[in-house]
């Protein structure tokens, strides 16, 4: 077989068996490879040793408050849509140290030097919704005026192997949000999984380096067409849809007194599940602790949620004292004010908040109800 040169921007094919080689190559290049694996009946992201760790042969069934993995024995590695976890945890860890303080001999506080020696991460198998979510979090943590050092130190060196989503989940609506089922940008490599080969789109120089030495096959028009056809099919098989998301900022911010807020407040338990599984939710809290002698102290950053009672607490009271105000904050922020803040919707249509809401609250239905109430 003649060597086929794969350049950035091109699409090539590799045999299924080359997946192991990809993982090995990333390891060899110094990345710590993380990929989707089955644990306790859901997909989690953890250290990936090879293709055999991937959930080959499984599909996932998702609906309101329902997530099941089912083994069907098909030959595909990336048919299973994500579980509660997203990749958010790797760039924006649920709990990290912000600073460590010690007193010097005069009793004055000093900030301890932080040693950050991080192994670069390779995210192996990022679906389009989740890649869109990473790009949204980039806007939140990487600003013109400042860069979040925790996020940036992990993000800047990360390798992203994306996978187009050919089997969209039952609660997703990425087609409505324009984030899927195909990924268009922001990856180093992007796979489309066909029954016998992977199509590989090269998105960066890092991606090209990883592809060097891979057993590249000539890309046939048949495969390209099959990939195209599968993606078109996928976009018609979304479990949910959300019409006209660009209208929502006006709809929501003009209807902060809608009756629907009272209705959803009777169902919402303020459990914060939706915010924890959301791949774009970014709110965080700080927590200080000290040793008993008061000589050493540390400040940590933790994921927070607009559903937590302390979230809006100021001396003299809580500005959002009930589920109604908290749910309204979440929904109007995610689908409304996010545009003014970050120039994009805060939702990528991944459907996690629908799947993992124990009260079966479905954002697409809530938004529909508000729209109907206003139009009535």
């Amino acid at each position: 077989m003649a060597d086929i040169y794969a350049s950035v921007g091109s699409t090539v094919a590799i045999p299924k068996a080359a997946l192991d080689k990809l993982v090995a190559k990333l390891n060899q290049m110094g990345y710590s490879v993380l990929g989707p694996q089955i644990q306790d009946g859901v997909i989690v992201y953890k250290s990936l040793k090879g293709a055999h760790d991937l959930p080959k042969g499984y599909i996932s069934q998702q609906d309101s408050a329902r997530y099941r993995l089912v083994y069907t024995g098909h030959p595909r590695y990336f048919d299973v849509t994500p579980g509660a976890q997203s990749w958010k945890q790797f760039f924006f860890p649920p709990q990290t140290e912000l600073a460590e303080f010690t007193r010097d001999e005069k009793g004055r506080w000093q900030t301890a030097e932080q040693v950050t020696d991080l192994t670069p991460l390779a995210l192996f198998g990022v679906f389009p919704c989740d890649l869109a979510a990473i790009q949204i979090q980039d806007r939140i943590f990487l600003r013109e005026e400042w860069k979040d050092p925790i996020y940036w130190s992990r993000r800047q060196s990360a390798f992203i192997l994306a996978v187009n989503c050919l089997h969209p989940c039952g609660t997703g609506f990425c087609a409505s949000m324009g984030t899927g089922p195909k990924t268009n940008q922001g990856f180093d490599l992007n796979l489309t999984e066909l029954d016998d080969v992977f199509l590989v789109e090269l998105g960066s120089e890092a991606g090209r380096l990883v592809m060097e030495g891979m057993p590249i096959l000539p890309t046939s028009a048949f495969w390209l067409q099959a990939g195209q056809k599968s993606l078109e099919d996928a976009s018609t098989r979304m479990g949910r849809s959300l019409p006209r998301p660009q209208d929502l900022p006006e709809l929501l911010l003009n209807n902060l007194d809608a009756r629907q807020w009272d209705d959803v407040a009777r169902r919402c338990m303020s459990c914060s599940s939706c915010t924890q599984v959301c791949p774009t939710c970014f709110c965080w809290d700080t927590r200080d602790s000290a040793d008993l002698a008061g000589q050493n102290a540390r400040r940590e950053r933790l994921w927070d949620s607009c559903f937590n009672p302390d979230y809006s607490y100021i001396v003299g009271g809580n500005s959002r004292p009930n589920a109604r105000s908290r749910y309204r904050q979440w929904l109007t922020h995610k689908f409304g004010s996010w545009y003014a803040q970050f120039g994009t919707s805060g939702c990528v249509g991944c459907g996690r908040c629908i799947t993992w809401c124990p009260a079966k609250i479905d954002v697409t239905m809530e938004l529909k109800a508000i729209r109907e109430e206003v139009q009535a």
Binding site: N254, T286, R299
Partner: protein, 288 residues
């Protein structure tokens, strides 16, 4: 309205949550549980380079306990020291209350929007403040005192719970000498109180305002702010000339932690000072 960080002298763009250390150089008791803490950065270069604008705040931290947003209450033209007037109520502010001269605090800042004084040359200024809402106004009063000719009538309407709770009382004379009219009220008087009893908005009934030329600035309890706005609008002062400084839970000052949101705004970054026309859609929404 989305503004970038003002003068990032004690904010590191690459480590924006890292505090800079400052020493308490003086403590002035203002009222029960309220003191002004005068701070100097340990790094003299930082102290010299630290500039802020009236209305901005710093994040003040006590290692082991946490960080709180405190408005700067000192003179922005005096770069030798920075004043914060703090009421001790929570964990962090109570710990600060137990501190002495020479103790060290962490400081990040300055953050947020400011009272846009340079746009108000020649205007009448009405400052309506309640309780701990007065300290964010004090940089204004310093500035106005130093540049009195730049402004028309200047009136301060101020209220506290009791006569004892009135802050900055030793400065009232200075303000009045600079032709700043001061009207004071308390919620509850005591045996010696001969002044007015009642809430801040009633002071408007004692005040002549020219709506064509007046700028109204307010800070204090949210319920007071609401009624101050009501009185101001009733006197035909246009919403874009009414300015409000809001208080919200804040952890970062960067528009990152999310806590301080009101509608589309991060109060820490887009505020705390807002012109009322921006806030109008949200002010009367309960529990937003």
């Amino acid at each position: 309205m989305i503004q970038t960080i003002g003068n990032p002298h004690a904010i590191s763009p690459s480590a924006p949550m890292q505090p800079y250390w400052a020493e308490i150089s003086d403590i002035v008791r203002e009222a029960p549980n309220v003191s002004t803490y005068w701070l100097k950065f340990l790094d003299p270069g930082l102290q010299e380079g630290f500039h802020f604008k009236a209305g901005q705040f710093n994040m003040i931290s006590v290692p082991g306990l946490g960080e709180v947003a405190i408005s700067i209450s000192s003179d922005m033209e005096d770069t030798r020291r920075i004043g914060h007037t703090i009421r001790s109520v929570g964990n962090v502010t109570s710990a600060i209350n137990r501190m002495e001269v020479g103790d060290i605090l962490g400081v990040r800042g300055p953050f947020g929007s400011w009272w846009s004084l340079d746009h108000w040359i020649g205007r009448d200024i009405v400052i309506a403040a309640g309780g701990i809402g007065l300290p964010p106004m004090r940089p204004l009063l310093y500035y106005i005192s130093h540049h009195r000719k730049d402004f028309g009538k200047v009136i301060v309407l101020y209220g506290a719970r009791t006569p004892n709770d009135l802050q900055f009382t030793r400065e009232y004379k200075t303000w009045q000498d600079e032709d700043i009219e001061l009207q004071v009220t308390v919620d509850r008087g005591d045996d010696t109180w001969q002044g007015r009893v009642g809430v801040v908005p009633i002071l408007f009934y004692n005040t002549r305002i020219d709506p064509r030329n007046t700028v109204i600035l307010t800070c204090g309890p949210e319920i007071m702010i609401r009624f101050v706005i009501f009185e101001a609008l009733a006197r035909r002062v246009p919403p874009e000339r009414i300015y409000v400084s809001l208080e919200r839970n804040m952890k970062c000052g960067l528009g990152s932690c999310g806590h301080c949101q009101v509608g589309p705004f991060f109060v820490c970054k887009d505020g705390p000072v807002f012109s009322f026309d921006k806030l109008q859609p949200y002010v009367n929404v309960e529990e937003l």
